[in-house]
Each structure stands twice: as structure tokens, then as C-alpha cells.
């Protein structure tokens, strides 16, 4: 089966690389934030923006307020890293990282940024390292969003094809859950395919 030039082999490889990256992320969070949790097996699909919107609607409950952090990353594999965490989970995260009963809005925002930093740095860095390419991270930004309208109408019109890599992060002890989306678009799909091809050659040559 092919999805926009991606064969099952490509998708299997990407899934495998993502599993390694997720493991890396879990270990880093345990080490740096002293929170022990797990990452679910990532879902990987190629879609359009409407498909992404619909996927987000299914994944993120509409009746909760979320902190949505977006961080761009550049290089041969570039795109947008999206971390969505509910207000309640963010409060628990702020409480855990700042060690205060009632963390301020600033504490919570900074805690969310901190977790996103670790997640993006470990997952994307590991993924790009495995693909033998470099990555540049840009300043993340966080906003509070009511419900699950994470994608603007302008984005839906402008973008055509995107790869969605999504997973759920769960730290039961701290009562923290979040959703991770890695989005790359159009030209990057071909670029990623080439990088995976090279990796496959390297492994099976």
C-alpha cells in the first residue's frame, strides 16, 4: 500500500524511528523532570489539513481548555511540533515542576514550555539523528485554546498534504496527559522519504 509515495516499508521505518525517539523522550523526562511515564505507540498518516482538523477533533476533547504549544523546527526534515495539554494536566505539571501548591499562570506556561522543549528536542533530535540530518529549533509559543480548534481556517486553505505523527503521553503518578502532533507539509514529504530511503539502504545494503 502506498500513501503519497510512502510505501509500507517507509511507514514501518518511520514508526520504528519514532518508537526509538519516544523511548528517548520518556527517559529524558524521567531524568530531567523526575516524572515517570509512558508514550503510546505513535499513529502515522498522510493527510490534508481538513483530515488533520478532523483527526484533532477526534483526539482532543472539545469540552476542555488546552494549552497548545507550537514549535517550528527547520532542516531537511522540517515542520511544526504541536503539544496539547489540558488545563488540568498543565496545572499538575506546574505544581510538579515548581513545587508550589498554587502555581501562577506564568509558572504553568513556563512548565508547559519546558516539557515541550524536552519532548521536541528528544523526539525530533533523535529522529533527525537517526536520519543523519541536522535540525534547528525555533522559539516555541504557547496559547490557551478553548476546545479543539487548533487549526485556523487560513491553514486549512494554505496547506495541502501533511504527515501527522501523533502520540499520547501519560504520567499517571503526576496525573499529566498530553497529545503530541508532528506536522510536516508538502515538500517535506518527499524530503523525508529520501532520508528514510537512505536509512533503509544503510541498514540493508
Amino acid at each position: 500500500m502506498q500513501q503519497n509515495g510512502f510505501t509500507d516499508d517507509h511507514l514501518d521505518m518511520l514508526r520504528e524511528l519514532m518508537n526509538i525517539a519516544m523511548g528517548n523522550a520518556t527517559a529524558s523526562i524521567a531524568d530531567l523532570l523526575e516524572a515517570f511515564g509512558k508514550m503510546h505507540i505513535p499513529q502515522i498518516m498522510i493527510s490534508d489539513m481538513e483530515g488533520l482538523d478532523s483527526y484533532i477533533q477526534q483526539t482532543i476533547p472539545n469540552d476542555q481548555r488546552n494549552y497548545v504549544t507550537k514549535q517550528l523546527f527547520g532542516g531537511l526534515f522540517s515542520g511544526e511540533f504541536l503539544f496539547v495539554i489540558s488545563e488540568e494536566s498543565a496545572l499538575h505539571l506546574g505544581h510538579h515542576l515548581y513545587d508550589v501548591d498554587k502555581p501562577s499562570d506564568g509558572d504553568i506556561l513556563d512548565a508547559v514550555i519546558e516539557l515541550t522543549n524536552i519532548l521536541s528536542a528528544t523526539i525530533i533530535s533523535r529522529l533527525t539523528e537517526e536520519l543523519n540530518t541536522k535540525v534547528q529549533f525555533f522559539v516555541p509559543s504557547t496559547e490557551r485554546v478553548d476546545g479543539n480548534s487548533l487549526i485556523s481556517q487560513e491553514d486549512i486553505i494554505n496547506y495541502h498534504r501533511i504527515i501527522i505523527i501523533s502520540t499520547e503521553m501519560e504520567f499517571q503518578h503526576q496525573n499529566i496527559n498530553g497529545q503530541i502532533f508532528i506536522l510536516t507539509k508538502d515538500g517535506m514529504i518527499g524530503s523525508l522519504k529520501e532520508l528514510i530511503d537512505r536509512k533503509l539502504e544503510e541498514l540493508y545494503a
Partner: protein
């Protein structure tokens, strides 16, 4: 790889603050931007602990961020939307500013990982942040205005009778109040011509005036009559205003209706004879005065006046009672109304006397109309009184005439008709 011989020059030339610091917060490098903006020279800072100068920083968090940066060999960030999370740098902007301290974007990047050194880059994003704050404030105002607008719209929708019509007088929108007042559902009104919704009473006159104004793309105001879904006739004070639709460049019209039916009823009562429902003497005098004043009558264009009197009416009253007398007057008024021409003005003058103004007639035509009236009365039959007759006096306007002079001549003619045996038409 080219080795840059003077990295300090490069770092000093940057329009950002750069410091190199270790895990215990000892400062190893402090660039020119920081020297200038913090008023702390590099010589004072290097080798010292950042905590001594900036104790307000949450060093537990800072340490964690440095550790993350070193462990992951990847940059970490402070949230750029927050204030006072890192060092405070006063803003030197003299002109209007929302910010006392610089809004900083802080990135902690790995420098020499093996030695536990990180580079902290500090960007002044105050202008951008101010724009964001201004935009947020404007958006909040817009949101408040939208709420007010929505509330006002709801009030208008529920209370005011307003329609929007297109250039062909077809209803495009209607308020809920309009729909409820007329007793129609939205789907049976939208797309219909205004005249259809207003019912037959308006077709010949009122809505035509509105549509004429629309054809001329002009504002219009006036009174219109309409029939509701339940058949009730109502009067509106109406204002039509052209409205340019910027989105698609078309012209539409808002029509605002104010129910003046009660006012109209009172107005009607004040000019109507309660028994015969004809105009009363007061209204007749007003119309008569206007007719003499407003039109330029000459020998070829003139108008007539008829005064009619029911013969022996006192006898009817005395013999059969006042109720029979009233029936005679009502029936005579009715038959007169049916006989006169459209545009003639008929009124009860008082008692058993009626008056009628006949625009654009000469003596011959006026006599003809009076004769028709006489014959119409003669043909009436009453259960009590049987048949009755009436006498008529006619006068025609001649230059120099006044209301009094015309009435005087018509009254004299009526007197002559009575003298000559009644049931006659006379003129002097």
C-alpha cells in the same frame, strides 16, 4: 571550517544580549549589549555569580533548563509571552510605551557541553510584544463591541418592525417583531414583494410610493396602510433608507415601520360624522378652504358645490321617532356615497343637510350630479317612512368667490328648491 579570529567582535556587534554561564551560574562571558543595557560592565560581571546581581530569578528552574540544555544538547527557552521570568532590563524608550522593562525572549543553547557551559541569548522583543498587547486590547474592544452589537440587534429584532428589501421591492430580511406583528412565518415573507405582504389595500397606492422611491434610489417617508394575516387593517409611519452593501456592491433598502393605527383611528374620529361615517363639517370646511386656495381655477376649470336637504325630515322624526330618522340619514348618506364620482368630497353639514364638492365640473355637470343624487334618494324605500325626497341647491366657483359666498349661493338655491315645491335641483 573557517575559524573566526575575533568572535568577541561578532558577539558585541549583535543586537542581542549574550552571556556564557556554567551550571553554578558563574558568568564566563558578558557581551557589549548586556553591558550597555544592564549598566553592568563585563569587568564587573565575569567570574561573578549571576545570583549576586539578579537574586529574583527562579534559580531552581534556571538550573533545570541549563541541565536540560546540556543533557539534550539542544536549546531550551523561557516563555516569551511572560514578563520578569529572567533578568529585568529597564526599557529606555522615551515615547509612549506600555512596558517599563524589556520584554525578553531567552534561549539557552549548549556552548561547551563537556565543561557544563551554556550560552544565554537575550532578544529584546518589546516592540513586538507591545504590538501584540495593543492588538489583544483592540480585539477585546472589538469583541465587546460585537457583544453590544449583538445585544442591540436582538433588541431591534424583537421590538422593531424592520425589513430589508431589494431593488425590486422584494423582502430580503425581516425582524422577528415584523413577522410576529404581521402574523407570518419567515419563509412565507422572504423573497415576496412588499405589496403582496401588505395585502390588497396597499397595492394601488402606498407600496407604489415606496417602490417609486426605490426606483429613484431615494430616501422616502410617509404613511402606508397594510392588512395583517388576520385581516386587520393597520397604518404605519414608514421610513425607507437606501443602504449600500459594500460586500457585493448592491443597493438595498431598510424599511422601518412604526404602527400608527391608534393615531389614525383618533384622527379619523375627529374628521368623521359618527352617524353617517361621512366627513364632518369641520373636515369639509378644511377641504373646501384648500380647494379654493390651492388650485388655480378659471372660467374653463372650475368646481361646484351641492347642498342637499332631506324634505320634511322633521315629520319623519316626529312621526316615526329618532331611530327611524337616523336610519333615513344613514341610508341617504350611503346612497350619496355610491352615486358621487371618485374624487368628489361628501360630508354631513348638520341635521338633515349634506354637502358635496365636485372638482372640475361646470354648472351643467354639477346639475347633472345633483339630479342623479335626487333620483337616488327618491328610489329609496323605508319600512316606516316609506319613500322620501330631497332638495338640492347648486353653486359654481367663479373668480373672487370665497367659501362663504359659494355656500351662500348654494344655500339660496336650496331655499328656492324648497319654495318651488321640494324634490328639486335649483341654481342661482
Amino acid at each position: 571550517m573557517v575559524t573566526i579570529p575575533y568572535p568577541n567582535v561578532l558577539l558585541d556587534a549583535l543586537e542581542i544580549g549574550v552571556m556564557v554561564i556554567d551550571e553554578s551560574f558563574e558568568i564566563r562571558y558578558w557581551n557589549q549589549w548586556l553591558e550597555i543595557n544592564t549598566a553592568h560592565p563585563a569587568s564587573e560581571m565575569i567570574g561573578k555569580n549571576l545570583h549576586d546581581f539578579y537574586p529574583q530569578i527562579d534559580y531552581k528552574v534556571f538550573a533545570r533548563k541549563i541541565r536540560t540544555t546540556l543533557r539534550l544538547a539542544s536549546p531550551t527557552f523561557y516563555d516569551a509571552s511572560l514578563q520578569n521570568r529572567f533578568i529585568e532590563i529597564p526599557r529606555t524608550k522615551i515615547t509612549t510605551s506600555l512596558l517599563i522593562n524589556m520584554q525578553l525572549q531567552v534561549t539557552i543553547s549548549p556552548y561547551i557541553v563537556e565543561e557544563g557551559l551554556v550560552m544565554v541569548s537575550i532578544y529584546d522583543i518589546s516592540d513586538l510584544h507591545e504590538l501584540k498587547l495593543t492588538l489583544q486590547s483592540q480585539m477585546e474592544k472589538i469583541s465587546e463591541l460585537n457583544c453590544e452589537l449583538h445585544r442591540d440587534k436582538m433588541i431591534i429584532d424583537a421590538n422593531l418592525l424592520i425589513t430589508k428589501i431589494d431593488e425590486e421591492c422584494r423582502i430580503v430580511e425581516a425582524t422577528q417583531a415584523f413577522l410576529e406583528f404581521f402574523g407570518y412565518k419567515k419563509e412565507s415573507v422572504i423573497g415576496e414583494y412588499l405589496s403582496q405582504v401588505f395585502g390588497d389595500v396597499s397595492v394601488d397606492f402606498d407600496t407604489i410610493q415606496i417602490c417609486d422611491a426605490i426606483a429613484r434610489q431615494q430616501k422616502w417617508s410617509g404613511e402606508v396602510k397594510a392588512v395583517l394575516a388576520n385581516g386587520e387593517e393597520v397604518w404605519f409611519d414608514t421610513v425607507v433608507t437606501p443602504l449600500n452593501d459594500d460586500e457585493n456592491g448592491t443597493l438595498s433598502y431598510t424599511v422601518i415601520f412604526h404602527d400608527i393605527s391608534d393615531k389614525k383611528r383618533i384622527e379619523l374620529l375627529s374628521i368623521t360624522d359618527p352617524l353617517t361615517k361621512l366627513f364632518n363639517r369641520h373636515k369639509f370646511n378644511e377641504v373646501f378652504e384648500n380647494m379654493i386656495r390651492r388650485r388655480h381655477w378659471d372660467e374653463n376649470h372650475t368646481f361646484g358645490l351641492i347642498i342637499a336637504d332631506v324634505d320634511h325630515f322633521k315629520r319623519v322624526n316626529d312621526t316615526y321617532g329618532h331611530q327611524s330618522g337616523d336610519k333615513v340619514l344613514i341610508e341617504v348618506a350611503h346612497v350619496f356615497s355610491q352615486t358621487i364620482r371618485t374624487g368628489d368630497i361628501l360630508a354631513r353639514w348638520g341635521g338633515e343637510e349634506f354637502v358635496c364638492l365636485l372638482p372640475d365640473v361646470d354648472m351643467e355637470k354639477a346639475l347633472y350630479v345633483a339630479e342623479k343624487l335626487r333620483l337616488a334618494v327618491e328610489e329609496l324605500h323605508f319600512a316606516d317612512a316609506g319613500t322620501i325626497t330631497s332638495s338640492f341647491g347648486v353653486s359654481i366657483f367663479t373668480p373672487g368667490d370665497t367659501q362663504e359666498s359659494m355656500i351662500h349661493r348654494a344655500d339660496s338655491s336650496l331655499y328656492r328648491a324648497k319654495e318651488n315645491g321640494r324634490n328639486r335641483v335649483e341654481c342661482i
